[in-house]
Symmetry: C2
Subunit: 203 residues, 2 copies
């Protein structure tokens, strides 16, 4: 992971405590980290979850792959090193949101176990909720809404996860969603039920 | 600024609109961008503002120099290039907070005009509020709470803004605070009054 470059920096305690922020929001901060192959449904479930949380008066935010790659991480590509830095930055940003009492919902392929575990290590007990959206390459390739698998098979996209780059499935995800057989609504409700059962949705 | 590296990315519209997010928060999202020399009072005013906003039930967050340099930007130093990337990333993160309906309060020296203007360009009309905390090098050096000016004068810190690196004061800041003569409480109230006058504190 990234090395600490700046010296002469000291951690500032903020005047408003995390507990006070959660009190204002009415629920806990957390990071719901979706991981899975391209086209497995991560972004769709993330947005559906965000929508349901919003309707319930919860403060959430969605960070998803392409949007972040057009903003914060526009200077990163898809090499293993850039993918690691991509996930590291997103991890730090989700942490900032979680500290502010927001439920940060991330939807990134995040194919490497070590990168995801590094994000987990940034967060407190119970704050990092890894959700594996489990869909086979066959399922995803059959959907292929952006035609990316087709391009990857044709060799037009290099380092494509599941085709020419590995995907390391989580071994201890908080939640595994069966996206081969279940629909968006059902899967979204499974995540919501998990958050409720863990007390995330109350302060 | 950073070049777009990833191709094959498309912008996703989120299911929850920005307007709906502001409605839930009860006020607008914005970036209150403090700029000024080291030890001019940026972080102290930022935290005091955050505290007052919190007490008033507003959703705010503080992003400050050292904390970000120990997290998101730990792989950046103080060269002109690294400073630009530091500010670029912080700009993108504040934008994410503003879009979520949060008042992002940033406290970074952010010495270069071009870098600050690039952040302004990321945000919508009225969303970027540049606050110049105007204190002379003499004032700041007399305070020097972390002994950094002393180290910079001794040549132990290179590229130190105001000593061995330039500070480009804002030409069109939304607000200029006179930190040579006024105290934290008074300056914080000036910012609060500005936010109120511009309608930021209501949805």
């Amino acid at each position: 992971m990234a090395e600490q470059k700046a010296t002469n920096v000291t951690w500032h305690e903020h005047k408003v405590s995390k507990a006070e922020r959660l009190q204002l929001k009415g629920h806990k901060g957390a990071v719901v980290w979706f991981t899975g192959l391209s086209a497995c449904g991560k972004s769709t479930i993330a947005n559906a979850l965000d929508h349901k949380l919003h309707l319930a008066g919860k403060h959430s935010v969605v960070l998803d792959g392409d949007n972040i790659r057009m903003g914060l991480n526009k200077n990163l590509g898809f090499s293993a090193e850039d993918r690691a830095e991509n996930i590291r930055r997103i991890g730090e940003v989700s942490k900032l949101f979680a500290q502010s009492g927001t439920i940060a919902i991330t939807a990134f392929i995040s194919p490497y176990r070590a990168d995801r575990d590094a994000v987990r290590a940034l967060l407190g007990e119970g704050e990092f909720i890894e959700v594996y959206v489990n869909a086979s390459v066959e399922t995803c390739e059959a959907r292929d809404p952006k035609g990316l698998y087709k391009k990857a098979r044709a060799g037009e996209i290099k380092n494509f996860t599941g085709i020419s780059d590995p995907y390391e499935a989580p071994e201890k995800a908080e939640l595994v969603l069966d996206a081969n057989t279940k629909g968006i609504e059902e899967l979204t409700n499974e995540v919501l039920a998990y958050l409720e059962s863990k007390g995330v949705l109350k302060a």
